[in-house]
Symmetry: C2
Subunit: 253 residues, 2 copies
Amino acid sequence: MITVSIIGSGNVAQHLILAFKKAEGVSLVQVLARAPQAVAPLLEPAQIITEYHDLVQVDLILIAVTDTAIADVSAQIPFENQLVAHTSGSVSMADLDSKNHRGVFYPLQTFTKGKEIDFTSIPLCLEAEQKEDYSVLTAVAKAITTVTYPVNSEQRKALHVAAVFVCNFVNHLYQIGSDLCEEHHLDFDLLKPLIQETAAKVMTLSPREAQTGPARRQDSTTINAHLNYLNDTHQKELYTLLTKSIIDNGKKL
Amino acid sequence: MITVSIIGSGNVAQHLILAFKKAEGVSLVQVLARAPQAVAPLLEPAQIITEYHDLVQVDLILIAVTDTAIADVSAQIPFENQLVAHTSGSVSMADLDSKNHRGVFYPLQTFTKGKEIDFTSIPLCLEAEQKEDYSVLTAVAKAITTVTYPVNSEQRKALHVAAVFVCNFVNHLYQIGSDLCEEHHLDFDLLKPLIQETAAKVMTLSPREAQTGPARRQDSTTINAHLNYLNDTHQKELYTLLTKSIIDNGKKL
């Protein structure tokens, strides 16, 4: 049985706790929580601690706290040569205190408070300094997901930027769609099948093959009609820039 | 039994033919095709015609051709007072020849050649000049989908722009994610669960509630790190503008 503890009580920590509770072959020993009430409904009272000196050594300590606190938290762990991994997409492995064995255990997904998620299909991006540590990370990861990838810190940076484009920025375009509907007394539900199909298409086609629309066709009549139609400055600027980017991208073929 | 004919042989026409073939209560009488070979596998030979003078009168003629040809096609229909509707998101109902009864029958979805789609959940946006014509459109629509909406020409313009944002532009952001993966020898599959969950979230939450990420948190450390990281001009410009739009949008709350 592999033993794991978690430092953190936020969104990612909570989703990891839920995943480990269902996992076989991994035992969740302790959760060090600054906000113990946030994880209390998920754990036995004895599993929750609030002080670093109460931590016991385990096979893996996962740090699931806000990016800017990771280095400081790792320095406070009262052990040496303990395997410690953080769960962040944008923090380097080297930011962890070097007194311990270092690793990264980054689940590439958007976690929403209160919305449970099927962890078994979430890619876990793994990195470690030493081969035997990588094996521990892999064993823990495979207990909660079917999808693991070796991703080094440099690649993880690219992946985190890519995630911002396909998640945060995509959601903002949904927001613009929703605003346009609201403005014209249309139900946002009208757009939902299109949103789902657009995502479904790139599960089997490449985004390049899946691209449609006036920009892809270089249909300047429709593009100009849309630009004349839009009043909001940001919407107009985004329409212009995204259209230009699609057209230039098509030329690269 | 309501009788329908289609003018057109492209993507939308083909998906409509497939939907009508499965429908009860509607009979597809003729398809007038400039490219008869494109629809030949879907129809009996007797259903396919290539000349306007071979058209027979039916309850509804649907024009599913490219936007710029709609007005001309409608003028060539050799009848008067025949109900004629086009299927375009961006053409006004008034562009149809006024010798016939006019309507719009706009399926709000992205159609991909060779990828069959469940038509029963596609919203059909309907418009007609006369009440009895609207009833015919509704009856035909309800034979192939569970989702119909009254949408006038002004609203349809807004909806078409919104569709460009949530479909074409979203797909382009998927493309950027894919490019970043490729550049760093990462599998695009890594991003797919995130893409699916991002779309799934707005089925139950509003995009405003679902928004996460560095821009939403106004996390300038991460934003600047990402901007420093990006080399491509379009990617940098889009990152900047989308971030600004998310931040300003947050201020509107």
